[in-house]
């Protein structure tokens, strides 16, 4: 039902059931928000979005107030602007005064608001809260002193992930965001996904930063610094350097990494191809031998931790394959080390991931042997950007380069791992070949593409009909698991990505990305798949060589030793 409302003296159309904010956004009338998140029920907590409503003595929050026919709103009267400014000042009066030293300097929503509302003197003084930092987690650092209690992290963890490891604790001005019993994040049910960081407006949440560690080893004479980067990285950097969002700058990335000081530049996408070889073989093995079904992917470490905590009854369903990062790391420290005649203990293996959970994954017990880690240091995209800027590398003026062998060639099947549904599609392409002996005529499996949180398809391979599902956002995984617990039996293979949309929207990516950017990144990956001719993992020549010279066959002893892992039930406060 169409209504008419007046905003700042002009008339606008609105639909019954909409909030004032929806109408404002649609018509380009900017109103600041702090606690608001699209697609979430408005919380009304921050009061920044207040507007004047004729007939109401108080200012109302536009994020929650429903439109009604004939309502008159003013979004920029002096009264409204003064109120918003005071709210920002109140936040600042209880916020550390150390912007210059803060991880979110120049990229902080509070800072932006302070600038927008022209806060140029400290009008309001007061006692600042004294909360301690939480450094316990391998992936995420919490600094409650910088928290403005907008609640976005709590809601994402609860509603999108279904994990709910953090919540509002205490009351009033003693409120803080904390874990169960106020313990460190590492003993809670946190799966390290980092989506909380992605929605945090300030520096209250950040990743465990290891750029200085990496800086140090880059200049160590006795160490060989080797780097790998995830499939999604090359399409996730563009807008940081003024290029079109989603633009693939793979070659430039290689060049930048070498200029920084990495001796060898490898591509995790190679590892993705390797994962496909092992995982596809494992899937067929399970189907043929009637082993535990359905099989779940295991390349997403936050999902793996989630399963270990919330669904230990499904641990046998998880593929025993390590993730591409870890497989690549294992091959680096064994196959590559042998070939290049470098002592494994002298290699420092660094990976660049769109993910914070990978920092935790790299430290897992099975991810190495004899004191040698598969991967030594994991850096997020954000940390990579820091290093690029630190080294003064001008991404517009360097020549693209190629990756190094023997872990440099990659198929486009591996590349699409970065988007939700990519692992599934890549695996099906290889499984089809392994089962039928033929290649798919059409490699595009559209049913598993797209940003929806839950996709399903039925794939016919000879006289076998395989039911597959692709979920992103752990809450969707939780729902699917519940269905299976309740008896659902028609699925064989399930891809789970913790981050909605897949790794392109991972917890380690640039902060402040919009849905449009994520879509652009996804489209870019599928364009690469369209363009390139090497569309299947099993045809990757370096992969073929690896098996011929080193591994033998998928799932054999060598693979088992280096490329597969175990899971364990985790006792945490759920």
């Amino acid at each position: 039902m169409s209504l008419n409302i007046e905003i700042n003296g002009k008339n606008y159309n609105a639909e019954k059931g909409e909030t004032i904010l929806t109408v404002l956004n649609r018509n380009g009338i900017k109103v600041p928000t702090l606690c608001h998140m699209k697609k979430f029920i408005p919380s009304g907590a921050c009061r920044m979005c207040v507007v004047e409503l004729e007939g109401n003595a108080k200012l109302v929050s536009s994020c929650s107030y429903p439109v009604s026919d004939g309502m008159k709103i003013n979004t920029r009267s002096p009264r409204v602007l003064e109120a918003r400014k005071t709210i920002v000042e109140l936040l600042l009066s209880n916020h550390p005064d150390d912007c210059l030293y803060c991880v979110r300097n120049a990229n902080c929503e509070l800072q932006h608001l302070a600038k927008e509302y022209h806060v140029v003197d400290r009008r309001i003084h007061g006692m600042k809260n004294k909360h301690k930092m939480d450094h316990s987690s391998l992936s995420i650092i919490r600094d409650p002193a910088k928290c403005i209690l907008c609640g976005r992290c709590v809601r994402v963890c609860e509603e999108v992930m279904g994990v709910s490891c953090i919540e509002y604790i205490n009351r009033g001005s003693k409120t803080l965001i904390g874990t169960s019993m106020g313990k460190g994040l590492n003993t809670s049910s946190c799966v390290n996904c980092g989506q909380c960081i992605m929605v945090c407006p300030t520096g209250a949440l950040s990743e465990r930063n290891q750029t200085s560690e990496v800086q140090e080893i880059l200049h160590k004479k006795d160490k060989v610094a080797v780097v790998q980067y995830a499939p999604s990285i090359s399409v996730s950097l563009a807008e940081e350097f003024g290029m079109k969002p989603g633009q693939d700058i793979n070659g430039i990335l290689n060049s930048a990494l070498r200029k920084m000081g990495f001796a060898y530049v490898f591509d995790t996408t190679f590892g993705a191809d390797l994962t496909i070889m092992e995982e596809s073989a494992e899937l067929i093995d399970r189907i043929v031998k009637g082993k535990t079904m359905p099989m779940f992917t295991s390349c997403c470490p936050a999902w793996v931790k989630y399963a270990e905590e919330f669904a230990p009854d499904f641990l046998d369903n998880l593929s025993t394959c390590k993730s591409p990062q870890q497989m690549t790391g294992a091959i680096i420290k064994n196959y590559f080390a042998q070939q290049a005649k470098i002592e494994p203990k002298n290699i420092v293996s660094v990976s660049i991931m769109p993910c914070t959970a990978k920092k935790f994954e790299a430290q897992r017990d099975t991810m190495g042997r004899d004191g040698i880690n598969d991967v030594d240091i994991v850096m997020t995209t954000r940390e990579l950007i820091e290093l690029i800027k630190l080294h003064g590398i001008d991404m517009h003026n360097i020549e693209p380069e190629l990756t190094d062998s023997p872990l440099g060639v990659r198929s486009s099947a591996g590349k699409i791992f970065g988007a939700t549904g990519g692992v599934m599609e890549a695996a099906l392409r290889t499984a089809y070949k392994q089962l039928t002996g033929n290649e798919l005529t059409n490699f595009k499996i559209n049913a598993v593409r797209g940003l929806q949180g839950h996709k399903e398809a039925r794939i016919k391979i000879n006289d076998l009909e395989i039911g597959v599902a692709v979920v992103s956002g752990l809450a969707n995984a939780g729902k699917l698991i519940e269905e299976i617990r309740n008896g659902r039996k028609d699925l064989h293979f399930i891809e789970v990505m913790t981050c909605p949309g897949g790794c392109i929207a991972g917890g380690g990516q640039r902060i402040g990305i919009t849905e449009e950017v994520i879509e652009a990144r996804m489209n870019s990956l599928y364009e690469i798949d369209d363009r390139e001719s090497l569309k299947v993992s099993h045809k990757n020549p370096e992969i073929v060589e690896l098996y011929a010279n080193f591994l033998g066959e998928p799932l054999q002893h060598k693979s088992h030793e280096l490329l597969h892992t175990k899971y364990l039930k985790r006792e945490v406060l759920l």
Partner: protein, 154 residues
């Protein structure tokens, strides 16, 4: 081995979210406070994340996470009590028992808590000790009141 908490939980088998607060209240009534065991088992029973349970429990004044003294003294900080001198009463209590509000004496006998208005304003200042109300309390009458309770220990 079934604990007291396990026994209480058997009555909440199909409990929804709205049974959370009554359940915590029952546990606190029987145990005196909420332990980690209470929070974890409640979470498992009601299928609610423990962070949410902890969040609810820390929101409300009623819930304690440490045991209180045998004689728990609640000092009312309502308006009438304030106007009629509750601050002095509290000061005297703290000085006599040598603890501050929120603490328990070493021998576990007494603990002090400052609470919101008890609703007996006509008789301000008011103390509530283990459910027994003491009206028109002054700094002078504190000593007698404490002695009466100590005498019970003899």
């Amino acid at each position: 081995m079934k604990t007291k908490i396990d026994e209480i939980l058997t009555n909440y088998d199909n409990g929804g979210r709205d049974t959370l607060i009554p359940l915590l209240q029952e546990i606190q009534e029987k145990e005196g406070f909420l332990s980690e065991e209470a929070i974890v088992k409640t979470g498992k029973k009601l299928k609610i994340p423990t962070s949410k349970i902890y969040g609810v429990a820390t929101f409300y004044n009623q819930f304690r996470f440490e045991p209180v003294g045998k004689y728990h003294i609640m000092v009312c900080r309502g308006t009438a009590c304030h106007v009629l001198g509750s601050a002095t009463v509290l000061q005297e209590l703290e000085s006599q028992l040598k603890i501050k509000a929120g603490q328990t004496t070493r021998d576990g006998l007494f603990s002090i808590e400052v609470v919101a208005c008890i609703g007996a304003c006509g008789l301000a200042p008011v103390l509530n000790i283990n459910g027994e109300f003491h009206a028109n309390v002054t700094a002078e009458s504190i000593k007698n009141i404490i002695d009466t309770y100590r005498a019970k220990e003899q």
